[in-house]
């Protein structure tokens, strides 16, 4: 398994009158084909670490390598481009665009990347959604779907540009048990099918047990599982 994502001694301090340390001196390594869960109490810095690993936020100190490239000197546009090409995100609240259909939501990242012609974008998105059991919902809007279905659309969107790593922030936090199990299996499936890594923040111990590895974080520091 190849290392696809590595953080080395990253610290994130929020500038304020009394500066707040969200993440302190964390080093982690993620390899392709791995399903890694980040666990910890509320406010421990799980999501902050995920945003840093997903290049949505920039560490105050430390470095992050993605696919072997040091991203510490990247500007905002370069980071956006890397996210577009190599990362996919799933959030607790599905965060789909309400005015667009299910199919359009999945096509959007492909259209921005422009790696495939428009017809192929639609074909790929349709196939992706069909794989996740959403073939009958392509032209529906997000508000016409159940919570579990929306989250699967979000996973399909995260997979759209064939990312190296999928980062999920409490993807089942807002779902019932059955839907939660379904999303968990879908994420597991994407790891096995695409040999890509999944890093997910979760409170759910059962979800965490399904992962290959658990990173425990307390007060912004990794206690176990780097």
């Amino acid at each position: 398994m190849i290392e696809v994502l590595r953080a080395e001694k990253i610290t994130r301090i929020l500038p304020a009158e009394v500066p707040i340390a969200l993440v302190r001196d964390v080093s982690v390594s993620i390899r392709s084909g791995e399903f890694v869960c980040i666990q910890g109490p509320s406010g421990s810095g799980k999501s902050s670490l995920l945003y840093l690993l997903g290049l949505l936020d920039v560490p105050t100190t430390g470095k992050i390598w993605l696919d072997g490239v040091d991203t510490s000197a990247f500007g905002e546009d370069q980071l956006a481009q890397v996210r577009l090409e190599k990362l996919g995100f799933v959030f607790q609240f599905h965060f789909l665009l309400a005015e667009f259909t299910v199919l359009e939501n999945v096509v959007l990242p492909m259209a921005r990347l422009g790696r495939w012609p428009p017809n192929e974008q639609r074909e790929r998105a349709t196939a992706q959604l069909a794989d996740l059991g959403l073939a009958d919902h392509l032209d529906k809007r997000p508000d016409q779907l159940s919570g579990g279905q929306r989250q699967r659309v979000a996973i399909a969107r995260a997979l759209a540009n064939e990312p190296l790593v999928i980062l999920a922030d409490e993807p089942t936090g807002n779902l019932d048990t059955a839907a939660s199990r379904n999303v968990q299996e879908t994420l597991k499936m994407t790891v096995q099918a695409g040999n890509r890594a999944v890093v997910t923040v979760t409170h759910d111990p059962e979800f965490a047990r399904a992962g290959d590895r658990i990173i425990r974080i307390v007060d912004g520091r990794v206690e176990d599982g780097t």
Binding site: E76, E85, E99
Partner: protein, 415 residues
């Protein structure tokens, strides 16, 4: 279709009510801009046309722009000379040797010229007296420099050539003194000379001041009446290109020496008024579009606030800040373009309605349609201004959207 435009259109379509209100704001602004501009430019063109048609393009008068230099000044240019109690030589007023000047001017390309001797006279009929301006003319030449021939409603201008005692008067004057064709009137000049003249023509220009005051007679007869033999006090010039009047008048003045005044110079103060009027008009109608652009600013600012979550999602997906900016900027431009198209259609409808309005301006005897201008340039100007102001109004919120930090929104969950 570019992705940013696709997203922008989706936003606009899903916020139908606000989009329609913004579109209406721009459309009404553009429509008023086009309609008011059309009315202003139409009236300006009509005014200038009346000015050009009714007045000479150039008038050479029996005056000098600067007093003639005294011979002693020419003889001793560096000398300390003082002249006191200078009295100009008494001579018959008018352009001396006007026939030579006439010949020179007539030889210029695209120029038609006619001599006129104009002066005050009193027309008496049935015990009533009326002051008139009697114009001594050469009918054959006058036809080339004045449209008075087209305003004749009875008789003809040429009749004064056939009947040297003939006079052509305005219908307003005829009504005032109960005069008819063929009536004999008495015309007396300031010199004391009195002639009996026969009415051989009536004209009607529609302008009361002309129709009640101006009269035309043969030049030779007028010269005799005014005691100014071989004199004309005006050379009336019409040009094929009225807008070359300034240049041609300079050439004529440098040759004949007398003051040659172009219509632009004669109406300089009026032209300044027109310019000021245009500045005021464009400021006011542009203000309408600026107000409309404030509406767009408000709408797009609200959209940006409401779509902060969508912006965060797009940025987390890998959309650049400039992609996000373009989405919101495109919304402003789309509103500007569609509003302009709608507004131009509406504006030309308004022009048609205004153009159909008929009225009788004060001082005019004829009923006329409101003068309007149909040119496309005013629509293009309005559209350009509307699109620019819409894009400008969208730019600030679009820039704010581009600066949204996705983590700030994503941390807040459903916020």
């Amino acid at each position: 279709m570019p992705l940013g435009l696709r997203i922008a259109l989706t936003h606009l379509i899903h916020r139908r009510r606000q989009t329609i209100m913004s579109l209406l704001g721009v459309a009404l602004g553009v429509a008023f801009f086009v309609a008011v501009s059309s009315l202003m430019r139409g009236s300006e063109a009509d005014f200038i046309k009346r000015l050009i048609d009714s007045a000479p393009h150039i008038t050479v008068s029996d005056e000098f722009r600067t007093p003639r230099e005294q011979p002693v000044m020419t003889a001793y240019p560096d000398g300390a000379i003082a002249l006191h109690s200078l009295k100009p030589k008494t001579e018959t007023r008018g352009i001396r040797g006007y026939k030579q000047d006439l010949a020179f001017i007539a030889n210029l390309p695209g120029v038609r010229v006619a001599p006129v001797l104009a002066g005050q006279a009193i027309l008496t009929f049935a015990g009533k007296e009326q002051g008139i301006t009697l114009n001594g003319i050469v009918p054959a030449l006058m036809a080339g420099v004045s449209d008075i021939d087209n305003k004749i409603v009875a008789g003809s201008l040429d009749a004064v050539a056939v009947n040297p005692n003939g006079i052509v008067i305005g219908r307003g004057l005829a009504r005032k003194l109960y005069l008819n064709m063929g009536d004999n009137v008495s015309v007396s000049a300031q010199t004391g000379q009195v002639r009996t003249m026969k009415i051989v023509g009536l004209f009607e220009t529609g302008t009361t001041a002309v129709d009640e005051v101006q009269a035309f007679a043969l030049l030779k007869r007028t010269q005799a009446l005014f005691g100014r033999i071989e004199r004309a006090n005006k050379l009336i010039i019409q040009l094929d290109d009225p807008y070359s009047a300034r240049d041609v008048s300079a050439i004529i003045e440098s040759h004949v020496g007398y003051r040659a005044e172009s219509w632009q110079e004669a109406q300089q103060s009026l032209m300044s008024v027109l310019l000021i009027r245009n500045i005021i008009m464009y400021s006011v109608v542009s203000a309408i579009l600026v107000v409309a652009s404030f509406g767009i600013f408000n709408v797009i600012s609200t959209v940006v606030l409401e779509k902060r979550r969508d912006v965060a999602i797009l940025k987390s997906m890998g959309f650049h800040a400039r992609d996000v900016r373009r989405i919101f900027l495109a919304q402003g431009v789309v509103i500007g373009v569609l509003g302009s198209i709608l507004g131009i259609g509406l504006g030309y409808g308004l022009i048609a309605a205004l153009g159909a309005v008929r009225l009788q301006p004060p001082g005019m005897s004829e009923v006329v349609n409101l003068p309007v201008y149909w040119g496309l340039d005013q629509a293009l100007l309005a559209a350009a201004f509307a699109v620019l102001s819409s894009a400008g109004a969208a730019y600030i919120p679009a820039r704010r959207a581009g600066r949204v930090h996705p983590v700030d929104i994503l941390r807040g969950g459903m916020a």
